[in-house]
Amino acid sequence: MQDFLEFKAISKGYPGVQALADVSFSVKKGAVHGLMGENGAGKSTLIRVLSGDQSADTGEIRIDGQLQHYRSVRDAFDAGVIVIHQELQLVPELTVAENLWLGRFPGKAGVIDRSRLVGVVKEKLAEIGIDIDPTAKVASLSIGERQMVEIAKAVMADARVIALDEPTSSLSSRESEILFTLIDRLRAQGKVILYVSHRLDEIFRLCDSLTVLRDGKLAAHHPEIAQITREQIIAEMVGREISNIWGFRPRERGAVRLEVKDLAGRKLRTPISFSVRQGEILGFFGLIGAGRSEMARLVYGADSRSQGTVSVDGATVTPDSPPHSIRSGIVLCPEDRKFDGIVQGRNIEENMAISSRRHFSPFGILQPKKEAELADRFIAKLRVRTPSRKQEIVNLSGGNQQKVILGRWLSEQGVKVLIIDEPTRGIDVGAKSEIYEILYELAGQGMAIVVISSELPEVMGITDRIMVMCQGRVAADIERADFDERRILAAALPDVANASELPNQQVQSR
Amino acid sequence: DVKIGFIVKQPEEPWFQDEWKFADEAAKEKGFTLVKIGAEDGEKVQSAIDNLGAQGAQGFIVCTPDVKLGPGIIAKAAANDLKLMTVDDRLVNADGSPIEDVPHMGISATKIGEAVGQTIVEEIKKRGWDMKDVGAIRVSYDQLPTAVDRVDGALSVLKAAGFPEANIFDAPQAKTDTEAALNASTVVLNKNAGIKHWVAVGLNDEAVLGAVRATESVGIAADSMIGVGIGGADSAINEFKKPSATGFFGTVIISPKRHGYETALNMYEWIANGKEPETLILTAGQVALRDNYETVRKDLGIE
């Protein structure tokens, strides 16, 4: 088979950053091509260039031998390119169907054909096994569901080239499977698929060939994925060997630090109780919509509680608001970095110091030197790729933004309970192991840590204990000694027969 | 060379445009420079005076946005070493008494109103209406003291002539334009659908015009309406030029010519020849009707 999609000497620079430097490679027809690299290596930039969103400074793109000269997203679409971006690109106020048709609504003379609008979407969603109502407003969907809608875009248009930028970062294994089947089908139809991910398992599961980027340059190109190993890829990406990503170290567990009793709220109706000890890392696992994030937000006081108490070291935390939680020593690193995490328009330094600066600002007056020190320390520790600490956070790559948010909470002082929701979403392998190291270190100092994750290997790899949630309830509580993949998954899957008898079903209340 | 400022409160209003125009004539005649500045509120007046001082003017004439600004204007003028005259509206002290030693040329708002009232009363009698069957629309804009004085002046004459107080209806304008007056008057007309004959008074021609338009839109004939405005500029003349008579019966023309030309001239004389102007000159308004407005305007020296 010949090369269908070709990148030739693509370069793209931003002020202070060379995002892509002379990148050339090609992909064959009917192939799924993996794209890997550290955070900030230039993967998303390459995909943006392909989508017509950004134009390369130099270089050319050929599809099916034809040189492409597109100037806008529209031209790229007309050339048969469709891109699912790393950040969700949906309009919350419109319905699922309208979002999927956006940019090319069906109809005559500008009047929308409403039966086609909904009908076609219904068909396509059913075809790929996504169970979402096409007439629902996107605003009413959870992140996971939104990601599925985003993915459905790939099949709505009859594209020749499909690029997916970290599509599984907010999906759990079940939704991921749906996506993988879909990709297999597209491959069979002879499409070219570019697939960006930090999850090696997925790369090996899906891809036929692989390109690794490093610092904007082509680090390696593998036309046959079968001939390489994980370790090799990691080395090519990170530039050093990482033998064991998890690096789990057992610790002493002390007295109970966090005690949650009968906690419930509007989106989580079944009361939940649990406790975490000093030095313990507790994992929460579940499918999308299991209610883990809701639980975390209730503990932190981000949403208001209808009942229940939270106490730290025996002292009850009241009232339930983030400032009070922080003062009592509870912090939450939220899952949705774009809406709940980064502060747009501000730079890295300010984003990091937003909460912890009160410890070193007498009478509310800032100490710029101390803030700078703090920022530099965590930029180095978390390996944030940026020209300076003054860079605006929106100019960072997705993974680097996540690192800054992590830095915000890791720099907080007097933390007794650290809750992190999807700590490594979109983060590269190298940085992941650094973050795990930090977690072990903090736990070693006596902190109680709650990790919420949809990646089963991760929860099993780094936690002392796992609580499995399913449909807003705790379905299982498993000690590390008893970790068993099948048992955990079984607990996470809703039992359809039992579920219909439950008084409060999260899924139906939506 | 002589430089004189002319500050007015509403530069977009035709009245002040005319005052400026006539002041310009005086400037051309005598060869002095006239600086025209619009100042809609007290703060703008202050900076306008500073500005004149900075330009090296020797004196200025002002129609103030509010008469209570008096002490402030006098202090500012003194600080900038500028001679001061007022036009149209006379400055008052904190206690409301007129400041006598600032030369003033003007016309009392109440007097103009009374002329309006007189015209209406005469026309009612001429048409042989019974005052009890007539409604009066008071198109009001009460946040402007001049407006209150004018309207109250007109109504006082009506009442003195036996117009029943109960037949006077308030139509508050939200803004001083015709549309606002039209909307407010429409409500009054609809509320009192039983009354067949109407008269209307207001702050200016535009306000009365609104009331006239309202009668037309609810189908009241032109000969059942007597609206008398104040101003006599284009809005009124346009009405008179219409092929058939409308409910806009007449207007009290006040002459911008004397107010513009004479004040400027007097100020010039004061500066150039040290001739102090009279401290108080009061001018009169003249009633103009559909058939005589051209002569009235000529008499007053406009056109």
Binding site: S51, D53, S72, V73, R74, H85, Q89, L90, V91, P92, E93, L94, E98, L102, G103, R104, F105, G107, G110, V111, I112, R114, A139 | E12, E13, P14, Q17, S140, Y141, D142, Q143, D170, A171, P172, A174, K175, T176, D177, T178, E179, L182, N183, T186, V187, V188, L189, N190, K191, A193, L209, G210, R213, E216, S217, V218, D234, S235, N238, E239, K242
Partner: protein, 316 residues
């Protein structure tokens, strides 16, 4: 949820609340529910109503237009002057549409192409256009020569004054455009998430230019009707119109953050504004107290609407 509560707090809650308020006013305020007063009320909101149609699009796409008042005055002036000069009402109308459209187009191009803040741009054109209107007329009202021109406002269609009919037609057209056409959906999409719309291939800057141009055209129509109603072109007309129109839209549930708009809501918003004025005058409330009452009504209306959407659990 009981069914009453459901009705009040549902999608059409604003309409229901409005209907209840209307019924109360109709029963308690004398002279309110007469045919004459109703027609008078509707006529008094014609300018606001017509301009609100396109302002809705403008706000829904996350833009902002402060120049509408000036454009209404300017195009009214142009219509009168052109028809006086040419002796043809049609030419006057076309000239007004041309000028209105041109103002809108300039707004749109400056905002969308040069990427200048909409508030500043339209604040600037608001002043420039008002200045042009004043310069063109030398600050004076221009009378209409041809009596046929004022028949436009006085004529009736099926017993209803033409301006009201025109407003109704605009409501229908723009309601349809918003909900049933690509243009409408794209407008909402741009407002809801400009970045996503751009990436989906919506030509965001063209859309914005179109919306502003349309707004200009619609202002011209409102300006012609206004000139015809007051039988002259007045350079000072319609000052402050922008805030009334924007309030009406926001009252009707149009989000200033973009992406949310509904024609029924806007109609209700326009009517609330009109009824408030009307009732205050019917009840003979003093001018100074009217300010206070107007403010309170505004607050109350949004407060009710907010309670409603809070209860409906909509994320804001």
């Amino acid at each position: 949820m009981t069914s009453l509560k459901k009705l009040l707090l549902g999608e059409q809650g604003l309409v229901v609340i409005f209907a209840i308020a209307f019924a109360i006013v109709a029963l308690t305020v004398p002279n309110f529910l007469t045919e004459r007063n109703m027609l008078g009320l509707l006529q008094s909101v014609v300018t606001i109503g017509i301009v609100a149609c396109t302002m809705m699009f403008c706000l829904a796409s996350r833009d902002f237009d402060l120049s509408v008042g000036s454009t209404v005055a300017f195009s009214g002036m142009v219509a009168v002057m052109a028809s006086n000069a040419s002796g043809s009402i049609i030419i006057g109308l076309l000239a007004a549409l041309l000028c209105g459209g041109a103002v809108g187009l300039v707004n749109g191009v400056v905002i969308a192409r040069f990427r200048i803040n909409a508030l500043i741009t339209t604040l600037a054109t608001m002043q420039i256009v008002r200045g042009l209107a004043l310069i063109a007329s030398d600050g004076r009202a221009v009378g209409i020569n041809d009596p046929g021109f004022y028949q436009l406002a006085l004529s009736k269609f099926l017993g209803i004054p033409t301006p009201i009919c025109v407003m109704a037609v605009f409501f229908i057209i723009f309601g349809f455009v918003l909900n049933r056409t690509v243009f409408g959906k794209n407008t909402l999409a741009i407002g809801g998430n400009p970045e996503a719309s751009r990436l989906a291939g919506v030509n965001v800057s063209n859309m914005r230019i179109w919306i502003f141009a349309l707004q200009g055209l619609v202002c011209a129509v409102a300006g012609v009707l206004l000139a015809s109603r007051i039988t002259s072109g007045q350079p000072n007309a319609a000052t402050g119109l922008e805030l009334s129109v924007i309030s009406a839209c926001v009252l009707g549930g149009v989000s200033l953050a973009g992406g949310r708009a509904a024609m029924t809501g806007v109609i209700v918003g326009v009517l609330i504004m009109g009824i408030a004025e009307n009732v205050m005058n019917l009840l003979n409330i003093q001018a100074f107290y009217q300010y206070v009452v107007r403010g309170l009504i505004l607050l109350l209306a949004v407060l009710l609407d907010n309670l409603r959407s809070a209860a409906a659990g909509r994320r804001t």
